[in-house]
């Protein structure tokens, strides 16, 4: 039996409870930081590792490039404030209805990277990265 696969357009980032409108791509990164826990008890010549901390982030590319959005993003960046960020599977009108998928997660995050790419005669492209602060659940 074929496994059910999730299409990229239906995996969306959510910021402040809403799917990020008009985005073309999102990337979720969850990382664990490891520490060498190898001791003289370790056998076979293999290292042993233990997780010392975890971190997560969500990057969203080509968000809605409107004046209002850009202003809101810069204000959010300057405020250093945390906001709810996460991801879920989507469907429905404008593909923005959260499906409460088993892999959906959210947490508090800080907008720590805002890139604006302005090519001649094209709409600007805005990329945001939210760095998780605290648990992802």
């Amino acid at each position: 039996m074929a496994l059910t696969k999730i299409m990229g357009q239906n995996f969306r980032a959510f910021v402040g409870g809403s799917a990020v409108p008009e985005a073309t791509n999102c990337q979720v990164t969850i990382q664990g930081n490891l520490e060498d826990a190898t001791t003289k008890d370790s056998t076979g010549g293999w290292n042993e590792e233990q997780m010392t901390s975890k971190q997560w982030s969500v990057q969203v590319d080509d968000v809605d490039a409107s004046l209002a959005t850009l202003r809101a993003l810069i204000t959010r960046f300057n405020s250093d404030s945390k906001t709810t960020v996460g991801w879920d599977q989507t469907a429905g009108a404008q593909n923005r209805e959260a499906q409460t998928a088993a892999f959906a997660r959210s947490g508090q995050a800080i907008l720590n990277d805002l890139s604006i790419n302005a090519n001649n005669r094209t709409t600007i492209q805005v990329t945001c990265q939210y760095q998780g602060s605290g648990a992802l659940a």
């Binding site: 429905g92 209805e97 959260a98 409460t100 959906a104 992802l136």
Partner: protein, 67 residues
Amino acid sequence: MSKTKNDIPAIEVGKPIKVDGITRAEVADKLKALKEQAAADKLKAQGGFIEYDGGEKFSAVITFVKP
């Protein structure tokens, strides 16, 4: 806002409904109950993303509209 016997808020078309709980599953169950109730009335959902506040609470805001 009135609530049903299962502590699920009553649906008012076009009005956002906030549900919360101490686990993701609890909020998901409440959303599911709301969606089932809305499906009977042929309403469409908007939103419904479960947010985690970083502490001990999960919540979601969902709005039902006429298609």
